[in-house]
């Protein structure tokens, strides 16, 4: 667990460094994610400690959103003003995104003989 967590945090830190040096507007942890996926696919294996620690954190991923989400209490005004319009945007764009993604995916898998 500790070994895997160390690797994950090290990769996050490396990602932050790369983002800082290159001034890319991409979050450091996302660069860390790309590094880890790229490494595993390149070497053809995922280090076992990373699997153990990663699964442990991801099992309760949604818990990690609570502290930041509670920050919403400072934005009551904006929500009261824009809340309804935001909901309209969310409903429409989520439906459009799912429909387009599924249609594109189906159009390109139909001939693969594995659509069941």
């Amino acid at each position: 667990m500790l070994e895997g967590l160390t690797i994950l945090i090290f990769l996050q830190f490396t990602g932050e460094l790369i983002a800082g040096v290159t001034r890319l507007p991409i979050p450091g942890p996302v660069i860390g994610l790309a590094l880890l996926a790229g490494f595993a696919l390149w070497r053809g294996r995922m280090p076992e400690p990373v699997v153990i620690a990663g699964d442990a954190i991801l099992r309760h991923l949604s818990l990690l959103f609570v502290p930041a989400g509670v920050g919403l209490i400072a934005f009551g005004d904006r929500l009261a003003r824009e809340g309804l319009l935001i909901v309209i945007v969310l409903v429409l764009s989520t439906a459009i995104t799912m429909a387009v993604t599924a249609l594109v995916f189906r159009a390109l898998t139909r001939d693969d003989g594995d659509s069941a």
Binding site: L58, V66, I88, T94, L103, F105
Partner: protein
């Protein structure tokens, strides 16, 4: 015991000075949310995170505690978001056989799905006259809050607002996916799963896993891949849009 120590407001002042108290509150509120979600058979509308945010948020508002004070304790949970994001390489690794087999469909649906997800959000938000900060908070709404909050921070959005918008998007996607796919006559569970993973991240993926194992695998893959792609596309599209 003195009388003063029985005074509830004095007791609260004492507790509010302990960072550990807010850490405990955060975990307890999430457990309550999780119990409620389990009692409803994991209905998407009974989302544990949303329940926990409402419980803690209400407690802070009622007691007049600032978010900064609360965060002194809660940040011990928050700091794990970084390593958790890196760990999202796991679903990509585990589903690499799917990528190898359907790389054309996955690549195209990922690229177009990510573009439509961000683009439709920005266009609709602009049409409805939403403010610039709200636009930047909305743009990454289809990807997991772990990544979306980081993106929002980069582009001048409001991370707490993004967290809640992401969760709302996940709930909407989870509720809409089955009727929408039936309406479009899309029966392939790979297409259905991938679509809900792209549009509605972890909450959509949890829903896909409830319906079908194959849909769940494609959803998890879509969620992780879209986290990567959206992190690159949001700054670009917002730049073009402004």
């Amino acid at each position: 015991m003195t009388l003063r120590s029985l005074d509830p407001s004095a007791f609260w002042i004492y507790l509010a000075e302990q960072p550990l108290f807010f850490l405990a509150i955060t975990l307890a509120a999430y457990l309550v949310g999780d119990r409620i979600a389990a009692a409803t058979g994991r209905h998407p509308l009974a989302n544990p995170v949303l329940i926990a945010i409402l419980l803690v948020g209400t407690a802070l508002l009622v007691s007049g505690t600032s978010h900064a004070r609360y965060f002194e304790g809660a940040r011990f949970v928050h700091v794990l978001l970084g390593p958790a994001t890196v760990a999202l390489a796991l679903p990509i690794w585990r589903n690499r056989a799917l990528i190898a087999r359907h790389w054309r469909a996955i690549g195209a649906a990922l690229g177009i799905g990510a573009l439509v997800g961000i683009g439709s959000t920005l266009i609709l938000a602009r049409l409805l006259g939403l403010s610039g900060a709200t636009l930047a908070s909305l743009a990454p709404k289809s990807v997991t809050a772990a990544i979306a909050m980081g993106i929002a921070e980069q582009v001048g959005g409001t991370p707490p607002l993004t967290a809640v918008l992401v969760i709302a998007t996940g709930i909407l996607g989870a509720v809409m996916v089955t009727p929408l796919m039936n309406l479009l006559r899309i029966r392939d569970y790979a297409a259905r799963g991938f679509a809900v993973g792209i549009a509605a991240h972890g909450i959509g993926t949890a829903r896909a896993l409830q319906v079908n194992e194959k849909a769940g695998a494609y959803a998890a893959l879509g969620m992780a891949l879209n986290g990567l792609v959206t992190a690159i596309l949001v700054p670009l599209l917002l730049f073009l849009f402004r």
